[in-house]
Symmetry: C2
Subunit: 238 residues, 2 copies
């Protein structure tokens, strides 16, 4: 499976140990050193959105309740729109989205297999957790992109279409099954490490673990703080 599965895990500090509003301005400077090139950035972002679309669309088929189907389908549509927006940026540069995405396909398919849950509730939480973390991450990196691509990508990935619907459906599912909350909380914790490895794989790292971790840690701390707020909103302990 993907090479980063075997890599050393990044230092994922529990966000509770730090104040959530810790100053992070200094991390913007460091980011340029680890910034991926534009095309790989776009290819990975595009394929991640396509994968989220496929996963959500599969959940639409697994859910019986028609109102839930509607909401999850809307979220799938939003992921597809993000995918198409990033693919349009690739085409605008004269490149072929399929070509640019290809080198990420195996890694992300492997990631998708890892984050497929035992039931649709787990899979739906996985999309919420992994897309939340990775969209934040790619938005964070977007400031380092050349030209005017960055603001466009940040706006595209920041549009929260359909996420409210996912939260509604998960809340409703938790409300009728109290054991589900603790199972989903556990599952959510398991997903964070694998997701941050995908994020880490996007960066240009020096190979010097100490320097790399110093650069990455502030970014990941921010990502996890936002993740914790998303879990809180579901009534789940991060």
């Amino acid at each position: 499976m993907a090479s980063w599965f075997s890599r050393r895990r990044p230092p994922v500090d529990l966000p509770h140990l730090k104040p959530r509003d810790a100053p992070t301005a200094t991390t913007r400077v460091d980011l340029h050193d680890v910034m991926p090139d534009l095309l790989p950035y776009l290819g990975q972002a595009a394929y991640l959105q396509l994968e989220a679309f496929q996963t959500l669309a599969r959940v639409v088929g697994e859910v019986d309740d028609l109102a839930a189907k509607e909401k999850i389908a809307a979220a799938a549509g939003a992921s597809l729109s993000k995918h198409q927006g990033v693919a349009a940026e690739i085409r605008r540069r004269g490149d072929d989205p399929a070509e640019v995405m290809r080198r990420f396909a195996d890694e992300i398919d492997g990631f998708s297999a890892l984050t497929t849950g035992a039931d649709w509730q787990e899979t739906l939480l996985a999309v919420r957790v992994t897309s939340g973390l990775l969209d934040d991450f790619f938005i964070r990196l977007a400031v380092g992109l050349p030209g005017d691509v960055g603001p466009r990508i940040a706006q595209l990935l920041g549009s929260d279409g359909g996420q409210d619907g996912i939260v509604d459906v998960l809340r409703d599912a938790i409300a009728v099954d109290e054991r589900l909350a603790s199972r989903l909380a556990l599952w959510g914790r398991r997903l964070v490490g694998d997701t941050l490895l995908v994020a880490r794989s996007a960066l240009h790292l020096s190979g010097n673990a100490v320097t790399d971790d110093e650069r990455i840690e502030p970014i990941f701390t921010e990502l996890i703080a936002a993740h914790t707020r998303r879990m809180d909103a579901l009534g789940l302990t991060a």
Copy 2:
């Protein structure tokens, strides 16, 4: 499974027996007698699009080629947009799309099971054939809808977003596998009967087979002529 599966098959004349440009103006008059009520019309149309979306999204996951994935995903997005457009019409009337769609769910799920092919190529052709016939049919009925809903629905269902991509992908698949063409041609013929039964189930029929068939036949002849042109465009004999 669905009740209309056991109904007598409608009289599906082969289109080759009639000139394709046969005058059809008189059928517009008859249509009002068999016209479904607005909400059932919208509910059935909305669920059919949701089902097409789900099927296409499943094919996205089954296809390996990334360029094909892109094209089929775009077609899935177009079906989802049509679904959301029809659902918006239901909401505009103060009704809940999930409620209005519910009575069609079992029938259309059964239809979807019948039209799932042995491989993704067959399933993709099935979407092309069934959506082509049913979109045409619902557009045809739209003239009988009250108020200004008809033109909006006709425009929505008539927007051909993503269908070109499906045709591209099918043509490419046929080009590298010559036996596929004859298998798909057979499969396409099998789909027509089942699809016209879904169309027939939407209509208010008298139960008098002779009168009903007289009313329906001109509409179905038109639908099959358009279907034949779509099969021709794929290089397949209808």
